[in-house]
Symmetry: C2
Subunit: 204 residues, 2 copies
Amino acid sequence: MRGTGRQAILDAAREEFGERGYAAVSIRDIARRAGVSLSAMYHYYTGKQDLLHALVNGSGQAYFDSCRKELESAGDDPGEQLAAVVRATVRYRAEYRLESSLTLAEWRSMSEEQLEEFRGRQFDGTRMFKEIIEDGVDQGVFRTPHPQDARRGVIAMCNAVAQWYRESGEESVDDLAERYVELALVLVEYRPAARRSRPAKSSS
Amino acid sequence: MRGTGRQAILDAAREEFGERGYAAVSIRDIARRAGVSLSAMYHYYTGKQDLLHALVNGSGQAYFDSCRKELESAGDDPGEQLAAVVRATVRYRAEYRLESSLTLAEWRSMSEEQLEEFRGRQFDGTRMFKEIIEDGVDQGVFRTPHPQDARRGVIAMCNAVAQWYRESGEESVDDLAERYVELALVLVEYRPAARRSRPAKSSS
DNA sequence: ACGTTGATGGAACGATCGTTCAGGCGGCTA
DNA sequence: TAGCCGCCTGAACGATCGTTCCATCAACGT
C-alpha cells in the first residue's frame, strides 16, 4: 500500500528481508506486503536478487558520503577523525538498521558481482578505520598496544548497533553516536596531543 | 564420510549451515556432504529444524560451563571477573565459530520453543556481563561513564571474533583471548583497587 | 477511431523443497 | 532356521519456490 509501485515494493522487501532473511522470504511475501501482484514486481525489478542489490547498494553509497562529510569537518587530529567515522557509522547503523542487518548477516546470498562490490566497500570501510588508527598510533596520540584488535573492536561495536537499536526509544541518535565516540576513543587509548604547558617526553 | 552416521551428519550440517545459512541449505546438501542418503538423516534426526537445534544447543551449554569454570578461578575483583568471561567468550567464539555465526545470525529460523530457549541463554549471557560491570562501577574500579554501552561494546567485540577468526592462523586462541581481555578492561576503564605497596594518590 | 506504451493481474511452468513410505541388508538372539 | 531390529536406501508425495507468458486496462498522441 504505502507509496506507489517501485517504492512500495522496495519498502516491503527491506522489511521482509531485514526481519526474516533473504532466503527465508519468498517474492510472494514481498508482493503481498507491498500490496501488488507478482507480475508488478517483475515489471520494476528483474528478480529476487535485483531487489537485494537495490537495497544493499541504495544505502551503501549514503554511508560513504556521510563519512566523507564528517571527515571534512574534522581536523588533522586522528582523535577527531576517528570520532568522525564512528559518528557516521553509528548514525548509519541506527538509521538504516534493516539494510544494515541485511548486509551484515546475508552477504552469502549475494551474486558473484554483488559480492565483489560488497567486498570492495567493506575493504574501503575497514581501511578508513585502519589508516586513522595507525596514524594515531604513529603520532603517539593513540596508545593502544593492539591497534588491529582495537580497530576490529570499534567496528564491531558500531555495527552491533543495528542489532539492538529501535527508533521508538526516547533517546536521540545523536546522543547515542556521541557516547560511542567516547567509547571508541577510550578503546584506542586516546591521549590528546602534547600540551604546550609541559615539555613533551621523548617517545620511548 | 568423516565419522559415522550421527556425527558425520552433524558435522556436515554445521559446515553447510555455518557457511551458507539455514534457509539456503537443503537437507539434500547436508546428506550429500555427510555421504549418507536422505532417509539416513531422518533416521537420526526428526527433520531440518532438529539439526539446527542439535547444533545450537550442543555447543550452547559448553559456553556456560566454560564461563563458570573461568569465574571460579577469578576472585572478588570485577576486573578479574570480567577478564574471566571475556576469555571464555572469545575462546568459545573462536573454537566454535561455525555454531557461533549460525546462532548469532540465524536465530530467525528457529522454532518457537527453540527461540525461547535461545532467548533465555542470551539473557543469562548478557546478565552475566551486566552484573559484573555494574559491580565494578559501584566499587569504583570501572570508571566508564557509560556502563550499558560499554557492556554492549564488550559483547559485540567478543562475538565478532566468530566472523573473522580462522584457525589456520599462526597465533594461538589463548593469545587472542588475552588481548581481548586487555581491550575489554580498557573499555570499562578499569583502575585496579588501591595497592598496598604505595600510598594511593587522591584522584584528580 | 486507432495504435502504442506502461502498469498490472492471473495462470502456469519446471525445479526444488521438506518429508514420508515401503522395503532391503546384516547381525543378533532364540 | 526364523524373527527381530538398527541402519540405510530409492522413489515418491504435496507444497512452494523463482520465473515466464499472455491478457487486460487506462492514458495519450495522431
